[in-house]
Each structure stands twice: as C-alpha cells, then as structure tokens.
C-alpha cells in the first residue's frame, strides 16, 4: 500500500512578474513501512514539502494522499492520528513553560484517549527515558533528551507515518547516532513509515531505503540507497552531490 503519495505538488508565491516558483511539480510516493529520504542543499524545498504534508502550509496546488486519501478530505482528528512530525530544533519544539507531562498529556486529552498515565510512561520508556522525566521541564533536559521527548510526543498518538525534519542536525555527533538508532528501532518495532528530510547523505544512507534528490524546488532524481555507494546517479546534480559527500567523508 502507498503511505504517502505526492503528485504535482507546486507552490508559487507572488503575483504577475514577481511570481516565484518555490516548489515545481514534485512527485514521489512512499510505500507503507518504507523509509524515504529527501536530500538537497539548503533552500531546495525539502522542509517545505514536509510542511505541506503536515498541513502547516496550505497554499499549495497538486495532490497529497495519505494511505490513499487526500489530506484535505481527511477529518482532522483522523489525520492527526495518521501523521505526526518531529521538528529540527529540539530547543524550539517543546513549549518552554510546559512540563514533559503536559506536553505528552495534551494530545491524549485532545483525542480523549484512555489510560493516559500508562501511555505517557510507556511513551517515555519507548524512547529510552525514565518515566520520572514526566515532571521535568524542557530547560532541565539536554538536546538529545529533548529530541527523545519530541519523538515520544509525536508517537503518543500512535501515528503510522512520521515526518522527520532533520531530526538530528541540531544535535551533537554522538547523540545523533543514538537518536538515529532509536528512530530505526522504533520503525522496526511499530512498522512506521518515515519521510526523512536531511542534507546529510550519510544519515540518509543509514536510515532510508530510497531517496529523492532535490534542487531548486524540484525532485531531480529518485533513487535507491545502493546508488549512494556506487555514485552512479543519472542526474548530473545528484551525481555531484553524492561525489561531494563522499569526498567530504574521506577528508574527515
């Protein structure tokens, strides 16, 4: 089954002569249970696509389908329980004045779910944190712990699709690996579908089976992970990107 199907997604900003294309005819689809990467340089529109799917942007044209249904036709409650998102900056994605308990309990209250305490404790244990963290505030946690809480919050509604907007780019390298392994484990356990945005090809190589390379708001090539090792991409830009990344890795 197709979990995410994006067809001809375009965004134009401005009118007349000042009209500027932000995204142009983006097409890709992600199978259920698959992890799909979006890579590209800064400003190539990766996060914008994510925000369109997350319904945080509403000015796009085209068609976005989740599990076969258009996002605009889905009842919002059901939508929330299908897709959740993990944001890039763990320092900005948790409310500074809400305890972890409040942050985790809010979605449960909104959706009137049962066994709230049990679910909250379970969610923290699943991301490798002690349930005692419930009474802490974000400023008492490290970046990695915050990102774990953000993942717990995204998963507490038991979504089947998770949108990940560079979830590790704000973290220390050693913590990055921990969070990436956690995400991989969670996907295997819960059979989640990931749409993973990153500009780090090594991270994408580790996390995703397939990826799309983006440049200037367009998908230039959709390829499988194997291509990253060989560098045999069809598109010249994709080839250049992979080559640059390989050289960088060697240099480091």
């Amino acid at each position: 089954m197709t979990a995410i199907d994006v067809r001809n997604l375009s965004i134009d900003l401005g009118y007349g002569l000042a009209k500027k294309r932000i995204l142009g005819d983006v097409c890709f689809s992600v199978e259920a249970g698959e992890s799909f990467g979006l890579v590209g340089e800064s400003g190539s529109g990766k996060s914008t696509i994510l925000r369109c799917i997350a319904r945080l942007l509403n000015v796009w044209e085209g068609d976005i389908r989740l599990e076969g249904r258009s996002v605009n036709d889905m009842p919002f409650v059901e939508y929330c329980r299908t897709v959740q998102m993990v944001f890039q900056d763990p320092y900005g994605s948790l409310h500074p004045r809400q305890s972890i308990r409040t942050a985790l309990q809010e979605p449960l209250r909104i959706h009137r779910m049962d066994r709230q305490v049990e679910r909250m404790e379970r969610a923290l244990i699943d991301v490798g944190l002690d349930p005692a963290f419930l009474s802490r505030y974000p400023h008492e946690l490290s970046g990695g712990q915050r990102q774990r809480v953000a993942i717990a919050r995204a998963l507490i509604l038991e979504p089947r699709i998770l949108l990940l907007d560079e979830p590790t780019s704000a973290l220390d390298v050693s913590v990055q690996a921990e969070v990436l392994n956690l995400l991989a484990d969670l996907r295997a356990k819960r059979n989640l579908t990931y749409l993973f945005v990153s500009h780090d090809l090594a991270v994408i190589d580790h996390m995703c089976e397939r990826l799309a390379v983006m440049q200037h708001g367009r998908v230039v090539e959709v390829m499988s992970r194997d291509v990253l090792a060989t560098g045999q991409a069809q598109d010249p830009y994709a080839r250049e990107l992979i080559q640059a990344s390989l050289e960088y890795d060697h240099a480091v």
Binding site: H95, P96, Q98, R101, E106, V117, L134, R153
Partner: protein, 301 residues
C-alpha cells in the same frame, strides 16, 4: 473496575505532581530577587505596607476618618494628630489610612478587568492575524490616540461622576497598551515549532491560545500591569481632584487634595500628606514593575 482504575490514575497523577510546591518555591525566588535589589525592594515593601494598612485600617487609624469636629479645624501636625486636621476638623492621617482601601479597590478592580481583556484581544489578534487583527488593532489605536486622563474624563462625564464609573473609565483606557504588548509577544511565538506541533496534534485555536500562547505572554503582561498601576493611581487621583471620581465624604487622596487646595497656602499639610501618599505609592509601583521585569523576563537573563 473502570472506576477503580480511574481512581488509581487520579492518585498517580496527584502523587507525582509536585507543581504547587514548585510554583510556591518559584514565587519565593522571585520575592528574594526583588528584595535583593534596593529599588524594587523599596517598591515591594511600600506595597506590602499599603496592603496591610488597607486590611487593618480600622485598627491602626487613630480617629474616625469621617467625624467632623468643627472646634478643631485646620490644626497643624502635632503629637496627637501627626498629619494635622482638615477644614472640617477630620484627622488627615486617618483619612489617608482609610484612603488606601479606595486606592487598592481601584487598582484591584482595574487590573482584574484590564488583564484578561488585554490578553484576550492581543493574543487573538496576534494569532489569527488578517482582517481580525486589523480591526482589533485599529480599535486599540483609537483608544491609544487619546491621552488616558482625557479619555477617562470623557467616559466619566458620559457615565456620571462616582467611584464605580471612574473605575470603569480607567479600565477602558488601560487595556490598549496591554493588548498591544500581548499581540507583539504572540507574533514572536506563533511561528514557533511547539505551536506547529500542538496544531498537528489536533489542538483547536482556542486551546493553543489559552494553553500555549497565554502562558508565554503572562510575565510581560504582568509587568506591564504593575507599571500601569502607577498611571491608574494618578488618573484616579486626577479624577478625584476634578470631582469626577470618589465623591466627598470618601477619603480618596485626589479628592482630599482638591478640597485642601483652597487652604493650601496657609495650611500646607492638607495637600502635602495626600500628595506624598500618591507619590510614594505610584513610585513604589513603578519600581516594583521594573524589578518584576528583571525577575520575570527570561529574555533579559
């Protein structure tokens, strides 16, 4: 069985929630910080004394504030009557002590009216934006474009003189700066990831405004209200002075100055003591507001 598990959930929640305690500790920390700074410490002490005076006014006032003693008019300050007597022989010190009750009533009612209105208008305007924001902010602009005393004068003139109407008029002129502030704060938070996250979790706009945005605006709004208390006291005294606020037998400080004005040149104590009280209290609120801003505003740390 279900009821039992619900009970257990309640117990578990109460058992682990140590929030009231930590809130209390935070309050203590704020008070300690306020006292650590001489100027805000002065403000806090003066306002504490003001509140205590208002509570125990009948116990500490040496005379009845409204008893007229025509054989004892316009007496200068003495050992028996520290602040002297006015043109009807009433003890000025007792009147000032009872006057704290009036000032505190005005301040309390005004902040209870103004805080929620300002917060609600500001946060909704900032959050929704668009035409709603435009309309709300133009209304705010209209209120802001009048000097507050003139506008309250107009309201009192329309509603009729009296303490209640003065309070309403002052409330109507004090909310716009708070709404502006709350809107500005909201604009800085509305694009934050935690707002996006709670929207994705299905939170309604009302829920986001109340649970996520208002707590973020609260500290600066609180500071702003404390600072505007000084203006409120001055405006109330001004209205009292013009005879549009508290009416004669009430020992309102502004009204006391107004009646004392006629005897001012020969009997300075009629205006000096109520004037000093107004000065002291509005200064104290200003200093406390500044101190609160330093203690509460996380951006200045």
């Amino acid at each position: 069985m279900a009821a039992q598990s619900l009970d257990m959930q309640d117990v578990a929640m109460n058992g682990t929630r140590a929030n009231p305690n930590s809130a209390f500790r935070r309050l203590l920390a704020v008070i300690r910080e306020l006292l650590g700074n001489p100027s805000s410490g002065f403000g806090l002490v003066v306002i504490t004394i003001l509140v205590l005076t208002a509570i125990v006014a009948p116990l500490i006032a040496p005379y009845d504030p409204n008893v007229i003693d025509l054989g004892n008019t316009l007496k200068p300050p003495s050992a028996e009557q520290w602040f002297g007597t006015d043109e009807l022989g009433r003890d000025i010190m007792s009147r000032i002590i009872y006057g704290t009750r009036i000032s505190l009533t005005i301040i309390t009612i005004v902040s209870v009216i103004v805080g929620p209105i300002g917060l609600l208008v500001g946060t909704t305007a900032g959050y929704f934006g668009g035409w709603y924001d435009t309309i709300m902010m133009r209304i705010t602009d209209i209120f802001l474009s009048f000097p507050s005393l003139i506008l309250s004068l107009a309201f009192v003139a329309a509603l009729g003189a009296g303490l209640e109407n003065a309070i309403i008029a002052i409330g109507l002129t004090t909310w716009p700066p708070i709404a502006r502030l709350a809107r500005a704060e909201t604009l800085t938070f509305r694009g934050a990831d935690y707002i996006s996250a709670s929207r994705m979790q299905g939170a309604s706009s009302l829920r986001i405004i109340i649970k996520s945005i208002m707590p973020m605006c609260l500290p600066s709004v609180l500071v702003r209200i404390t600072l505007s208390m000084a203006t409120v006291i001055l405006t109330a005294a001004g209205l009292g002075f013009l005879g549009l606020g508290a009416q004669p037998p009430l020992p309102e400080w502004g009204a006391m100055i107004a009646t004392g004005r006629r005897y001012m040149l020969d009997n300075w104590w009629l205006v000096a003591f109520p004037g000093g009280a107004i000065l002291l209290v509005s200064l104290a609120f200003n200093l406390l507001g500044d101190g609160l801003r330093d203690a509460l505003d996380p951006k200045q740390r």
